[in-house]
Subunit: 144 residues, 2 copies
DNA sequence: TGTAATCTCTCTAGCGACTAGAGGTTCAAG
DNA sequence: CTTGAACCTCTAGTCGCTAGAGAGATTACA
């Protein structure tokens, strides 16, 4: 086990520059180097990076991952904190799904009603131009 | 009708710096100024900004909004292009909802199974550490 | 051992859509 | 005419990467 950064990238599915980025921001620890200053990784590095990757896929922010990693490093701690982080993320996801569903409805209405003639009578444009919207109802879903 | 930027902000729900930003990137046209170089807006400016705001709420990118605005300015054009943009956005939203639902399921499983003892046997941490994940299945949903 | 191909290194800048702050000017009410 | 809120421009920061330049290291094969 003496993997180059490229090897590690292939094994975890995390891109090479991203691995270096994670080291920069302190998510991955500094690692051993060859004489020529190239990074070399071992088994625990794979595990740690896979953990990070999975957490990112679940949408956890880097700060949350930092906390989760430090919890993992100390198995005697109570896991209430980890549970809390996961629950917070779950709430976010649910909220986001709800917002997106509202948004989907409005988009569907727009698209269905479009007779596809001239722009002058296009429902898509009309709906957007319609100023009878309260401020902020859909705002949360807009973020990508 | 001779609104200051603050008035315009209050009427549309778009923040003052954001309005200036929209002018910078060419979404809002340059507008008249007082002798002291303060911006003044009229009715069409309100309408245009409201259009932009609503489109942003629906998650359209600035580039798409640029196109939609230019279509709106010319009512004789066919509205197929507008329809297409809206449909593309709808596809994105549906895709995103699907990804988020997958994500929600996994998070729920994690949270439910957590017995909330020591980190050593915490399902949240364990699930994240579990390396038996194919690369990239959930990746799309991770973006916020 | 030579050499070519492929990594890898550091560093800086860019993405999108804003947001925050510094430091200074103008406007409107009293 | 003074005060204080609102306005101005400009730069830099947010998040989580990603791209590119220009240079050095490593490896496979002849």
């Amino acid at each position: 086990m003496n993997l180059s950064i490229g090897d590690l990238a292939r094994r975890t599915g995390v891109k090479v520059p991203t691995i270096r980025y994670y080291e920069n921001i302190g998510l991955m620890p500094e690692t051993g180097r060859t004489e020529g200053q190239q990074r070399r990784y071992d088994r625990p590095a794979i595990a740690r990076l896979a953990f990070i990757r999975h957490a990112r896929e679940l949408g956890f922010e880097v700060d949350a991952i930092r906390t989760l990693l430090s919890l993992q490093d100390d198995p005697e701690q109570p896991c209430a904190r980890a549970d809390e982080i996961a629950k917070a993320r779950l709430r976010e996801v649910k909220q986001r799904i709800a917002s997106l569903n509202a948004l989907k409805k409005e988009l569907e209405k727009m698209v269905e009603e479009c007779a596809c003639g001239r722009v002058g009578e296009c429902r898509v444009i009309e709906t957007l131009a319609d100023r009878s919207h309260g401020h902020g109802r859909l705002a949360e879903a807009a973020a990508r």
